[in-house]
Symmetry: C2
Subunit: 121 residues, 2 copies
């Protein structure tokens, strides 16, 4: 792991929350694919380990957190990568992972709710 500090800036609110407007079919398909990637407890824990690390994470430091095989962990990491939630780079023996905050923030914004929602019933 190198020592260079990289500041990730994000584009911020990049979509209209579902509490404001109904989704079109294309956005619903895109969003559902991201939710599917996070719909497994192991993948959600993997995502949280990578997102909270504050640095890129070697797969060698991830695997010991789980009682499943290395290939299983690799499979789940590939699903997260294909959903655009993380990226990785192989250096020598190991693969290093880091989060892609734009994608994560996109679905967070999609689900955000105005502080007080007036519901006419």
């Amino acid at each position: 792991m190198s020592k260079q500090d990289v500041s990730i800036s994000r584009s911020g609110g990049c979509c209209t929350p579902i509490s404001v407007a109904a989704l079109d079919e294309a956005t619903a398909s895109e969003g559902a694919a991201v939710f599917k990637a996070l719909s497994d407890p192991i993948r959600l824990r993997l995502m949280s380990i990578i997102a909270s690390a504050g640095a890129e994470v070697c797969v060698c430091d991830i695997t010991p957190h789980f009682n499943v095989s290395g290939p299983t962990i690799s499979h789940h990491l590939r699903v997260l990568r294909e959903a655009g939630l993380v990226d990785c780079e192989r250096r020598g023996t190991w693969v290093y992972y880091w989060p892609l905050p734009d994608r994560q923030q996109w679905i967070s914004t999609l689900l955000s709710v105005p502080e007080t929602t007036a519901l006419a019933r």
Copy 2:
């Protein structure tokens, strides 16, 4: 649909975002179940229609948005209800749905990313 205005107040940020701390297994299982409910494009569109309506929605006004059968829509709505994302009430012939913003905001907060994330690489 009655005319009473109901203001839904929410408990706000109710969990630690995954960008701040890794999830424990119990929270990961709970979160993954909610993401699974949203991992289908039809369910995500259903959720967005209910969340954005600003009023409770009759299932009779939901079904015409989709090219699938009524029982299929009912199945998907039941999945959203079991995930704690919507609730419903039968009145006469029809069932009326409304969003449960606490649950929706919980997963939004879970995925939220600080404005600038410094990643040491």
